[in-house]
Amino acid sequence: MTQPDNSENFVPRGAIAFFAFLIALGLIIWFGIYFLMLERI
């Protein structure tokens, strides 16, 4: 059984979505604490 070779235009969609999710989560947690800190100055 042979599969068509399309490794040339492979896009790691799942990895990109997961990375974007991690970045967004990191930003929300970090800036959540950051703006709480600014409020308390």
Binding site: V11, A15, L27, R40
Partner: protein
Amino acid sequence: MIDVFERRIILVSILVMGLFILAIFYAMGARKADVTECLPYDKTYETARVEQLDKTTYQIFYVARMWNFEPSVAYIPVGSEVDLFVTSNDVVHGFNVYNKNVNLMAVPGGVTKTTVRFDQPGVYKVVCHEYCGTGHQNMQAEIIVNYPKKQ
């Protein structure tokens, strides 16, 4: 040769870290967030006291021990800028002022210092937030920020 998607991920990571660093500089510069200092220790910090430098500037020298802070109550007029110096007589304690940007460690043989402004009147609870023994949950003090006496 590095993969194009890997390169983009590294670039985004660097940009986000740069954003964090810029936000820290904004808080320190434009918003004057105080950066906690560790001062060289000497015996005078073992005397708990409140000192008034001028009309709106105070210094509170806290001594933490099992299981209280001294001074346990401090009165400060509203709008004051207060330098907090914290040390410990026995073990490591925590020093956290409720609803303020103050989070210090009270270390025996060490002095930690921060500056805080009290623009709102109220009773500000200080709690020990570093487990220090069986009385830890009762270890607290108060900073009472009130309007100055009318004369």
